[in-house]
């Protein structure tokens, strides 16, 4: 399951994810990101994400690419340590904002 709330921060609009990001829930994120297209900068906050798999990671990459092509920017923040490790394993660590501090969310599955 995945729930998304939208807030506004310094960077721009922020999608706050809560739950799991996988094959089943990716479409939810994609729709939420699509709604924000044209905003220029988007933040995706993973603080509430307990699980992400390669499908979810690929989905994040796609969103970033699509925004990039249209001159926008997407940054992904607050992955828990396990999730940060998965980013690293698949070679996608650049997607994570470097200034971001990973905060453990007490993973629930």
């Amino acid at each position: 399951m995945l729930a998304i709330s939208v807030t506004k921060g310094d960077y721009g609009r922020c999608l706050n994810l809560k739950g799991e990001l996988d094959m089943e829930t990716l479409a939810t994120l994609e729709r939420a990101a699509e709604v924000q297209e044209g905003e220029g900068q988007l933040e995706i906050n993973l603080a509430g994400v307990s699980f992400i798999d390669s499908t979810g990671l690929r989905g994040l990459l796609e969103i970033q690419r699509r925004w990039s092509m249209k001159g926008g920017k997407v940054r992904v923040i607050n992955p828990c340590p396990e999730i940060a490790e998965v980013f690293r394993l698949v070679g996608m660590e650049e997607l994570l904002d470097c200034s971001d501090q990973s905060k453990a969310t007490g993973g629930e599955y």
Binding site: M1, E20, D22, M23, E24, F51, D53, S54, T55, R58, E82, V86, L89, V90, G91, M92, G107, Y109
Partner: protein, 419 residues
Amino acid sequence: MQECSQCARKTPDRSCVDCDYFMSPGPLRRKPPMPIGISLVAADGKRYAGRILVLNTMELGLETQAPVPGQYRIYLKQHLSLDVAGVPTKGKGDIHLFDIIAVYRGEETASRLGNEEYRLLTGSTGDFIEQVSKLVPAHLQDLVKERLLAELESSEIFNAMRLGKVMRYEKGRFRHLTGQADLELPLPAIENLMRQAIHRGTHCREVIVSDDGKRIFDLHGIPLDSRSGGLLAFDLTEIIEKERQMRCQEMQAYREAMAAVTNGRLQLLTSEEMVAVLSQGNELARGVVNKAADIALARSKLCSLLPAAFSARTYGMALSLTEALTNTLKHATGGEWVVRQTDEAIRVIIQDQGQGIKIKDLPKAALMRHYSTQNSLGCGFTLMLYYADKVYLTTGSRGTTLVLDFHQSAGEEICSPAS
């Protein structure tokens, strides 16, 4: 120097074709089974008849009245022609040696005859064409010859041709025409095929196994009229056996390579080996995945039954299971999962009935940090190989079984003495 002119005077009946001075001896020097009739076309367009009596890959011994010295083009078949030049010092009477200056194949040019061309000219397949084309009505003979020659250009058929035969079928009986006379074909099968071909009025083909189960034949029935036709039979046994052996060797090489590249973590197993692995230990839970939502369920079931010793590895185990199950949805119609406990490990088994993983894609997937949107395997394998202690894999056209072992000892924290 002038051996040929001397020979013409002293031993006029001596055959040039067998003479070592005329054409140097060697393994490539051959006489075609029957002299090959050709035309030599001069630069001015004048044509001369000729016959190829002996050849190697660079020279032709021709019987012709075309003037020598002289350069000519010979059209052998649709896309194959030669430029030749007569050698005045070799030969006598109407028999002359011609150097092959150029070989034109379609758009390519070469300086000598290639394998296939050479075999076409010197082998008994020329014969074969003649025989086969006799099976068809006169007005179609040239067309059939043309088509057959075009087909024979590919060497697979050439190899097959060395083991085969042609038979004429008439009034319910078969008569051997050419090829291997002792090639034994099951009579009911060839009769059936011929009747089918004649009844439908069209070429029929069937691959059959001999009665003793030892040989495999590719049969072609060609109808001629309402009562007769021809049968071509190719013995494919050697070819198929060779391919099977090559696949076995390939598989063995992959097994060893995968084990080496992954430091023994990923092992490709045979079906027998996999059966043994699947039966070890006790079952803890199982489930089925038909849609994406079932994967989250599988995850929570797995996590709910993990012993405390595995708490630090929960994410990795859940992720590995997820990746494997996602693959079953992507590449098959879903799959099943089972969690077992063995003495050493928690064993997660994922099975599907898809079309199997291409083994050649595995090495890429086994490399760490490989991620590609073009790679159909994605990075699922990379992740599974990272988090699991051992991965066993069996895959084939009937499906895939993946076993992920998470060792107990690897999960425990080892306290090292303070140094």
